[in-house]
Amino acid sequence: MTAKTWDRKDLLGLQELSASEIETILDAAVIFKSSSKISSALSGSTAAFLFSEPSTRTRSSFEVAARRLGAEVLGFSVASSSLLKGESLLDTLRNLEAMGVDYFILRHEHSGVLESLAPNTRASLINAGDGAHEHPTQALLDLFTLREKKKTLKGLKVVIVGDILHSRVARSNIHGLKKLGARVTVCGPSALIPGDIEKLGVAASHDLDAALKGADAVNVLRLQLERQNQNLITSLSDYFESYGLTPARLAAAPGCVVLHPGPINRGVEISSQAADGPNSLILEQVKNGVAVRMAVLSLIGQWRKRNA
């Protein structure tokens, strides 16, 4: 049923997806979550990981998902220097493709690298994070978790707080949330809010307490600790003072659930009490990540069978 509405070789980002394509993935993930057993959707195929940035959570999650679908998994940590040139990365891809790799799960520190590669390979590319551009499966699992908890995303008020400027999670979430009818506020110091963000149809705030009023969910972004060396934040404790999520701040928004893409800097962007509190969905997100990634891989797998 869902296969009909998915017609893409790759998953590059949520910006290019329609609401119904996103819902197709989320609906498929519901089924994978309820019967998280072995499937043979990808048996006989091979998925390779090319990561130029460290990752434990996203990579393991993808790996579990690919194995549960019966795929062979090939892991690479590619030194970022050898991935610098778009052309040499394309060479790497084509070589692996010649060995029979069907799926590439890619993470790259530079925005847009997958977009340049995708038209030049018959293999399917799945974006596991490119620069500050997109991290679609993280946003999909955030959407899935919110939809499961709140039944629908339509009309929800979602606050994304933190380093919006450098965050691919924020960008993918903004695209996905807007398409599914949520209202989005991004919140953080001016130095970490990118220019013209309001033109994406979101509100921008520099006051977390005000932003949280009436919020149904808050997605807390990880703060890279080196931002203080760039004068983008004044100090970690000063940042926590203004933008750290605490139970006291959350008290102003009854029923507001807490998301975080991980890994958490406790005491920097979120207090331990808030991270581990009754409204936290952080571990639920991790669990849902596998189902969402299985959904993505199997939909693309069905596309590949139809277009073989």
């Binding site: 610098l84 790259h108 340049s116 620069g131 960008r171």
Partner: protein, 434 residues
């Protein structure tokens, strides 16, 4: 098209546009010994018996040779991207008869010997006039001034550290003072590199959506404002290279109103495109200054229309395909422009009535000639250099490889343009003809 003949060249029956003579009428032009000899009606009757080469220019515009005062020829040092010879061929194909070569070669043109080297190379290999800009600081490091007087004697036409700004304001002041003493314009690439560091595109929606760092408009404008203050302080002529931000255009407009010795140029890409036009992560749309917002593009157009911007200059910056295949954040800045400049001006400015024909000639020939103090270029009075561009305004064509340039990093590939150079004549000699 041209017939072989003697030392003379007769260009017959074209619409001659020469702002210096307030001329916009069908005329014949006779060139002799590399100079303009005479302009008149039906000169062929009187020259029939002499050995002259004839060029039929009916249905075309005949204008003073176009001058592009911002060109990177890459030689010496990066001949795989461009050479003096290929850059000159690209210019000729674009109807440009004189280029000002920027000094950021490897090594930079920062001493009289380097100036002589470029001059000698150009004299033997270039089909167009190659003027030379000397570096303002040794090695373009922004530390010690170069020998302005000796480079002036060697024949430079301007001083600039282009590619880099003169960040140190005290150094900029001294550079302006020496430039004034030598009678040279100082061309500044206005960029506060602290504000722009590490960013490949303009700050705004396009950068935000693509997840790329943004260069704020203010990184240009703070330096434009500083340069205007220093021009007022020193009385020296400062020329703002590749102006791109609305606020910079406003600053120059005000400075001119106050009578300060400030001039400016704009590139075809800044008047033709804005950051919303960047195709994906295609690094052929990456240049410095970056494609700005739509309001900035409109301000550049308005500045060209009202004369705040004196010149159209390409910032022709060839880069080989390997360099431009890098991720957007890593690829070098710069696009080629010599072969599309005139056609973009015709299509985006004249056709849309931003500029009339006379103003086109002012921005592409008379204006840069005046900035560079070229008495015998930018007009067609008798005795002027025999540099002429013949424009076919009616022809439609599509920008595509092959280019005469060694590089093909153009954001305009695939674009349909109207009008192009039918011929380029340099010193009385036809160097390009379609």
């Amino acid at each position: 098209m041209p017939k072989r003949g003697g030392t003379g060249l007769l260009i017959r029956g074209g619409l001659v546009i020469d702002p210096a003579q307030k001329l916009e009428a069908v005329r014949d032009i006779l060139l002799e010994d590399g100079k303009v000899k005479e302009i008149g009606v039906n000169l062929s009757a009187r020259t029939a018996l002499r050995a002259v080469q004839c060029l039929d220019a009916a249905q075309t515009w005949v204008v003073p040779g176009l001058i592009d005062m911002h060109v990177h020829l890459r030689e010496p040092g990066r001949q795989s991207d461009e050479t003096i010879a290929t850059g000159a061929l690209a210019a000729a194909r674009g109807g440009i008869t004189t280029v000002l070569a920027m000094p950021n070669t490897e090594p930079p043109v920062d001493n009289p010997s380097s100036v002589h080297f470029i001059k000698a190379k150009a004299a033997s290999e270039a089909v167009v006039n190659v003027l030379i800009a000397g570096a303002a600081t040794v090695g373009q490091k922004g530390e010690r001034l170069t020998e302005f007087s000796r480079m002036a004697s060697a024949g430079i036409s301007a001083v600039t550290d282009d590619g880099r700004p003169l960040l140190n304001s005290e150094l900029m002041r001294r550079a302006l003072e020496y430039a004034r003493d030598c009678g040279l314009p100082l061309i500044d690439h206005c960029e506060d590199e602290n504000l722009s560091a590490g960013a490949p595109v303009n700050e705004g929606l396009a950068a935000t959506v693509k997840g790329l760092r943004g260069i704020p408009w203010a990184s240009e404008t703070v330096m434009v404002l500083r340069d205007i203050a220093l021009a007022e302080l020193t009385g020296a002529h400062v020329h703002i290279a590749h102006i791109s931000a609305a606020q910079s255009v406003a600053a120059v407009r005000l400075a001119k109103k106050r009578g300060l010795p400030v001039t400016a140029e704009a590139t075809p890409h800044h008047f033709s495109l804005c950051d919303a036009d960047i195709k994906g992560y295609n690094a052929d749309f990456k240049m410095n200054p970056p494609l700005r917002g739509e309001n900035d593009q409109e301000a550049v157009l308005a500045g060209l229309a009202d004369g705040t911007i004196d010149a159209i200059a390409t910032d022709h910056a060839p880069h080989g395909p390997g360099e431009k295949a890098l991720a957007m954040a890593l690829a070098p800045f710069g696009v080629i422009g010599l072969e599309t400049s005139l056609a973009l001006a015709l299509t985006k400015l004249v056709e849309r009535k931003i500029l009339n024909r006379r103003q086109l000639v002012e921005r592409m020939s008379a204006g840069p000639a005046k900035i560079l103090g070229l008495k015998n270029k930018g007009h067609l009075k008798p005795g002027a250099d025999g540099d002429i561009t013949i424009i076919d305004p009616g022809v439609s064509w599509k920008v595509e490889a092959p280019f005469a340039s060694k590089s093909r990093n153009s954001p305009f590939i695939g674009m349909k343009l109207n009008g192009r150079a039918r011929a380029a004549i340099v010193g009385g000699r036809v160097v390009h003809a379609l």
